[in-house]
């Protein structure tokens, strides 16, 4: 039990990564929410002294390896996005879940724009609006992840 408590954040992040890379049909793939970003966002808002920019950087590196992008691209975008949340966690905690969902949407849009800008620097990719679908699906997913992870956190009394 003690062990699970210590590694809960890491385990939830690992599960999020699995969901991030699970193979799905192309038509569905377009709407895949940013699992890792959402789970990280919850932990940053709930326990900012446990998870913040450092954890975001490390998970970003793992994503880079998993998704085959140039090393550092996802860690860069994730670090900045999580920094925005970590710097304002006291205010964001007081928002309702629905207001938080909007904030998550904004952060997700920032995350995707950062990814696009970085990749644009490296290769000659062109912008497509389809790439912003995850912003909406992430917003829709946020309340559920929020309730689930809060339950996990309270059940296991993670501090």
């Amino acid at each position: 039990m003690i062990k699970v408590r210590h590694y809960t954040i890491a385990i939830t992040l690992l599960i999020a990564m699995v969901f991030q890379i699970i193979p799905v049909p192309v038509q569905v793939d377009l709407y895949r929410p940013d699992w890792v970003l959402i789970v990280l966002s919850y932990w940053v808002m709930a326990l900012p002294h446990r998870a913040n920019v450092g954890v975001a950087f490390t998970s970003g590196l793992a994503l880079d390896i998993l998704l085959g992008t140039a090393m550092g691209v996802h860690s860069f975008a994730l670090s900045i996005s999580i920094y925005v949340l970590a710097a304002n966690y006291q205010r964001l905690r007081n928002y309702s879940v629905w207001q938080q969902a909007v904030i998550i949407g904004v952060v997700s849009a920032l995350y995707h724009s950062l990814l696009f800008w970085l990749l644009r620097l490296l290769t000659d990719v062109t912008f497509r609006f389809e790439e912003l679908w995850p912003v909406l699906t992430s917003m829709a997913l946020w309340p559920w992840i929020f309730w689930l992870l809060r339950k996990v956190r309270r059940q296991l009394r993670i501090t």
Partner: protein, 287 residues
């Protein structure tokens, strides 16, 4: 719990550190290609996550296999037998043609094409964003996969190996924005370069002159130039040709022959070119 007095460096310093390290990594990886050797190790490190992500699909497949009715199996069997018969008939003609081709090539003193070593691989993961089109297959360095190896499905060329791990490897699809493949038209042997567009069902030909003889429906096969892809495998079919004289080149859109969005089983090729110095070594590993 201590949230008022934070421990360690401040958030801003952490961010600066993370960003500096990210930029350094990007430069190291992309500009200097410093991770080409460590990537194998890193890929093996994260492969448990990939296997985990692949598990639900495999379970579904397995249960679907268990649950198929006998009727469906019989039907499928019949279908496959029919197809085998038809293809065997084709193969008979093909064998005669191959023999004839070999003899003609010998008469012309052209090198006779070798039979290649092949291996079937299975799809493990798909990373399809408009920014990168890659897949992961379940064969790696221990199976003899090498960098730049050609990957096919039953219809045509799929892509090439871009990273080799111990037990799996990452394949760059021909539809990726950073990928280009030399092709030639079957109809008149004119050569082109086909580049990926980032969309999975669309590629385009670069630098096609307005006067180039190309029309809709032309089938393009790999030309073997560039010595990455073996010659003569189908790549794409021309879907649209726009000759707008106000632009420097004709815009040619092509559709890949391989069904890139529903890959399941793939074929790995080991071409043996006679110009290769380590041919003996390759043959030795074959045995």
């Amino acid at each position: 719990m201590d949230t008022i007095f934070t421990r360690g460096p401040s958030l801003n310093i952490r961010l600066a550190l993370a960003l500096a390290m990210s930029v350094m990594l990007i430069v190291l990886d992309f500009k200097l290609d410093a991770f080409s050797t460590t990537r194998v190790f890193l890929n093996s490190l994260v492969s448990p996550v990939q296997y985990l992500a692949n598990l639900p699909g495999q379970l579904l497949n397995a249960s679907a296999q268990r649950l198929t009715s006998q009727q469906a199996l019989i039907e499928e069997n019949e279908q496959l037998t029919n197809r085998l018969l038809l293809q065997n008939e084709k193969l008979q003609r093909f064998e005669a043609l191959e023999q004839e081709n070999k003899e003609l090539r010998r008469l012309l003193d052209a090198p006779v094409r070798q039979n290649m070593r092949k291996m079937v691989a299975e799809l493990m993961a798909v990373d399809n964003t408009p920014y990168s089109q890659q897949i992961v297959i379940n064969k790696g360095a221990i199976d003899g996969v090498y960098l730049g190896q050609s990957i096919l499905d039953e219809r045509g060329i799929v892509g090439q190996v871009m990273e080799v791990g111990t037990t799996n490897s990452r394949v760059l699809l021909i539809s990726d924005v950073t990928h280009s493949i030399p092709v030639r038209s079957i109809r008149n042997n004119s050569r082109f370069i086909a580049s990926g567009s980032g969309a999975i069902d669309e590629l385009y030909l670069t630098h096609v002159a307005h006067s180039a003889d190309i029309r809709e429906g032309d089938v393009l096969v790999s030309s073997g130039l560039g010595e990455v892809f073996p010659e003569g495998y189908p790549v794409a079919e021309v879907t649209q040709v726009i000759r707008d004289e106000s632009r420097p080149f004709a815009q040619v859109t092509i559709a890949p022959q391989a069904r890139l969005n529903r890959l399941k089983y793939l074929l790995l090729l080991w071409p043996q070119t006679s110009s290769e110095p380590d041919e003996q070594a390759a043959e030795a590993t074959d045995d």
